[in-house]
């Protein structure tokens, strides 16, 4: 029994869920919205002010432009908005804890397939869904921008950022899946990961404040600043924001290591807990 076959089954199951389909559609529509709105603004301005209204030597309507290269950046920003993270969290909770509670997970475990494969297949399915959402939303935004306003300039950075964002969200999905296995409850998974996210956010703030500490005229102030500077790139918030570095061309390798470490740790913990678990 190959992992590929279990993954195929799991991908089909995940993509047939109404919540995953609705989520995919929502994110793609959100990404498609900016070029459409900008086009509407340009056309509206053209009608309202007339085609001859100039500003700095250009028709005013020309200032409303979102070419493909810029639209893809907007798509990246939108996919990083909390909606996608919330959807990943919800799906991770549903595909493990939800199935455990609905007793459908039992039917998978009764098949000649190892629990390790069952769990990895669930993660791969989540990653496939994340990739589908990311590339479709990117395609919708960049494609419409391209059609409405032309190529624009830089494409490479945002495309690398898109791949990095998929990798980052795959790590987040692993953490969410581990929470789902450990808590065995949809509600507790959502609450638990939200709590971790708040901790991560709080840590970000604490380190940011510590970075300011050298302004305090005390030897500990300088030390705190050095600690914060050294720790900052290794933190989870830096790892999950790795894509920003790719987008701008200055990514931190420490974040990549943290991301890989977190992903591996989450999967190992989840598989270990699932293998010991009594499946009702």
């Amino acid at each position: 029994m190959t992992l590929a076959a279990v993954t195929r089954a799991e991908v089909y199951k995940l993509f047939s869920r109404s919540s995953s389909r609705a989520g995919l559609l929502m994110v793609v529509l959100l990404a498609a919205l900016p070029p459409i709105l900008v086009l509407a603004a340009r056309l509206g301005m053209g009608v309202w002010l007339g085609p001859d209204q100039m500003f700095n030597g250009l028709p005013v309507s020309e200032y409303f432009s979102l070419p493909g290269s810029s639209a893809q950046v907007i798509a990246l920003r939108i996919r990083d908005f909390f909606v996608l993270k919330a959807l990943i969290l919800l799906l991770a909770a549903q595909i493990f804890a939800g199935e455990l509670q609905a007793r459908t997970l039992r039917e998978d475990v009764l098949r000649p397939v190892s629990r390790c494969s069952v769990l990895l297949a669930k993660w791969f399915a989540l990653v496939a869904w994340i990739a589908a959402v990311s590339f479709l939303s990117w395609g919708a935004s960049a494609g419409l921008g391209l059609v409405f306003f032309g190529w624009g300039d830089a494409w490479q950075g945002p495309i690398l950022g898109l791949f990095a964002a998929v990798v980052g969200d795959a790590g987040f999905a692993a953490v969410a899946l581990a929470a789902s296995v450990l808590t065995r409850s949809v509600a507790a998974t959502v609450a638990g990961v939200f709590f971790l996210a708040v901790l991560d956010y709080g840590l970000d703030w604490v380190l940011w404040l510590m970075k300011m500490a050298p302004m305090i005229p005390h030897e500990y102030g300088k030390l705190a600043g050095q600690v914060a500077e050294a720790a900052y790139p290794w933190m989870p918030f830096s790892a999950f924001a790795l894509w920003r570095g790719f987008e701008t061309g200055s990514w931190g390798w420490q974040g990549a290591i943290t991301l890989m470490g977190m992903t591996a740790l989450a999967l190992v913990v989840a598989i270990g807990a699932f293998r010991r678990m009594d499946v009702p």
Partner: protein, 305 residues
């Protein structure tokens, strides 16, 4: 060389905290058996089946499926329904079966053929495209059996497969299970409360109580045990006179009401003709004198007393 048992459990124990759900259970299901696994509620039947299939951990003991103690691989020869079968409600019956088939290593045309085969076997072909969430309990049970049949298992483990079904649904499931065993040659381990059904269907029976196996054997063996106690059921035109006469016969014990209004008696060594002669001698007009046959319910009640 003796054939390897379909299922062999040795020394299985499972505790939940201080509660012992199953204790030192030994159980063997031979290939070709239709094995009835009986026990009162809370006896540990479902726990034993779950542990045997690897759904829950065992504290001690070994389980072999067709001689193999690596349960993951050995499960390719086993189909099971544990308690009420659960389905992905947003998917059709057919899609649920396709899922199970993929997890059993099937694919492509072979998978489609297998789904068609099992749907036909449980007579669900016409409703296969409907969402499983809309299925009746009987249909869900049949779809559960279809899923258990995916991949052509050699052993079918059915935990209370007729639970919650109406008489028609119970009959359909019973006939299907019997047909699977007799025509498809599948070994069946069935846990049930319906003793008459188990007696009619199974060749071997194990009775579990408080986590321990209290009795095991062929149905004929269990029914013959204790059958020589001389239990008879006597009918008379005047049942009051019969009761009074019985009280005066030495060595005969009144066990109370029997079937069809008759009186159930334990006669010990007293032959039926002698009992009849004594009753007639006391003026009782005997209308029936029937040697009582033990059924599985009698055995069950004795074992679990």
């Amino acid at each position: 060389m003796a054939e390897v048992p379909a299922l062999e459990i040795r020394g299985l124990t499972r505790r939940y905290g201080k509660v012992i759900a199953v204790e030192d259970l030994d159980l063997t299901v031979q290939v070709g058996d239709i094995y009835g696994f009986l026990g009162p509620n809370g006896a540990g039947k479902t726990t034993a089946l779950r542990a045997a299939l690897g759904l829950i951990r065992r504290d001690t003991g070994t389980v072999r499926l067709f001689g193999d103690d690596r349960l993951v691989g050995a499960r390719s020869k086993v189909g099971a329904i544990i308690e009420t079968p659960a389905f992905h409600s947003w998917m059709s019956g057919r899609e649920n079966l396709l899922q199970a088939g993929q997890l059993s290593g099937l694919g492509g045309v072979a998978l489609d053929r297998e789904v068609d085969r099992v749907l036909e076997r449980v007579e669900l072909t016409e409703r296969a495209q409907h969402k499983a969430g809309g299925y009746s309990l009987g249909m869900r049970q049949r779809l559960g059996i279809a899923r258990a049949l995916m991949g052509g298992p050699k052993l079918l483990v059915l935990d209370e497969p007729t639970n919650g079904l109406d008489p028609r649904g119970m009959r359909e499931v019973r006939e299907l299970v019997r047909s699977l065993a007799l025509h498809d040659g599948i070994t069946v381990l069935i846990s049930s409360h319906l003793l008459a059904e188990v007696q009619a269907m199974c060749n071997r029976v194990g009775i579990l109580q408080r986590g321990r196996l209290r009795a095991e054997g062929t149905v004929a063996e269990l029914l013959s045990e204790g059958a020589g106690d001389g239990i008879v059921e006597v009918g008379a035109l005047d049942m009051g006179a019969l009761s009074a006469a019985v009280a005066g016969i030495e060595g005969v014990e009144n066990l109370g009401a029997g079937a069809e209004g008759r009186l159930r008696l334990r006669c010990g060594e007293l032959p039926l003709y002698a009992l009849n002669a004594q009753l007639v001698g006391q003026g009782v007009q005997v209308s029936a004198l029937v040697p009582a046959r033990r059924n599985l319910e009698d055995v069950f009640m004795e074992v679990t007393r």
